[in-house]
């Protein structure tokens, strides 16, 4: 085990930090808010984010503070941050195609761009991150690569979450093949599948 990992493991063991911030990052509609809600509901009994099929439903960073997560008899206290989905384009016409009126669509697009800037700024402030990917989509996107590159550059622990494995066309193995150097957990945030594995991964990898 490399020295840094060993040191990190020791810190985990003795609980050096009272609480830590865990950011949920990813492309638009990867299921970040569904996952945030699942985690929040599991440990506080209430949801934290609004969920919709409409892209850019989350347009500002939503925080759930001091969430106590129990893993193998130990309590992790974390501040969970549901980030707006990161994209390189936001076209108000896409919202009109989905039934929105022009002013509402333009306003949503404007809010979405601000949300993306805010999410990017937070990349420098989170203690750990989960990069959420839709298992049905191509994982090798520039957004995923950019997020991972920035987290790696800052040595921020990251867990890749292959979400939506309940869907018929899910191929989480593509994600594993694209990013073999990172720890990956396959889940369905919607159905609550493999959440125990995810909590263990958070305890093991994210709590630095």
């Amino acid at each position: 085990m490399p020295f840094k990992q060993f040191f990190s493991w020791l810190k985990n063991l003795f609980g050096s930090r009272q609480s830590f911030s865990l950011g949920l990052y990813g492309n638009v509609n990867a299921g970040k808010s569904t996952l945030a809600n699942r985690i929040s509901k599991d440990w506080s009994g209430e949801e934290m984010s609004s969920v919709s099929e409409m892209p850019h439903e989350t347009r500002e960073v939503i925080k759930k503070e001091r969430l106590a997560v129990k893993v193998d008899g130990k309590i992790l206290t974390m501040n969970l941050l549901d980030m707006p989905g990161i994209a390189t384009k936001v076209d108000y016409r896409d919202f009109i195609k989905r039934g929105m009126k022009l002013p509402e669509a333009q306003n949503r697009a404007k809010e979405a761009t601000k949300g993306i800037i805010e999410a990017i700024k937070w990349l420098e402030h989170v203690d750990a991150a989960m990069l959420v990917m839709d298992s049905c989509e191509d994982p090798y996107t520039q957004v995923n690569i950019t997020i991972l590159g920035n987290l790696e550059a800052r040595k921020i622990p990251v867990i890749i979450v292959a979400n939506k494995i309940d869907k018929k066309n899910a191929k989480p193995e593509r994600i594993k093949a694209a990013f073999p150097q990172h720890h990956l957990v396959e889940i369905s945030a919607l159905k609550g599948e493999n959440m125990d594995k995810l909590y263990r991964a958070i305890a093991q990898y994210a709590k630095g």
Binding site: T88, K89, V90, D91, T141, Q142, V143, L148, G149, E152
Partner: protein, 118 residues
């Protein structure tokens, strides 16, 4: 109207600071709706982050954003910094285009495919 593909040598961006580099790219993309930039050398993850932020701030009714992808070694690695110091050329390339023109860039570790359309 046809598509203009502009190839930019790494020397053009060599002495620019990261914000200048990003601004240069955005300015060139915004100047023409039919222009795709192919830049010698790949952007660092920090440059890409800056490019996304600046793009978001620049989005308006006529500019919905960009599609971008880099292949090859990222320019901030120690190896590429050394190459730069010794006067060598960075490896890799970056493709950027307005999202109104470039619908998708499919990326493999060593290959980029562009899908364009209006």
């Amino acid at each position: 109207m046809g598509i203009e593909i502009q190839f930019i040598a790494s020397d053009k961006l060599r002495d620019k600071t990261p914000p200048q580099k990003v601004q240069f790219i955005l300015d060139h993309i915004k100047k023409s709706k039919n222009r795709i930039l192919v830049i010698e050398g790949s952007l660092s993850s920090s440059d890409e982050k800056e490019l996304i932020s600046k793009t978001m701030a620049a989005i308006d009714k006529s500019f919905p954003g960009i599609e971008v992808a880099s292949v090859g070694e990222q320019s901030s690695t120690l190896k590429t910094q050394l190459i730069k110091l010794l006067g060598g050329k960075p490896s890799g390339l970056t493709v950027v285009g307005p999202s109104s023109l470039v619908k998708q860039i499919k990326k493999d570790p060593d290959k980029l495919s562009l899908l364009t359309g209006k």
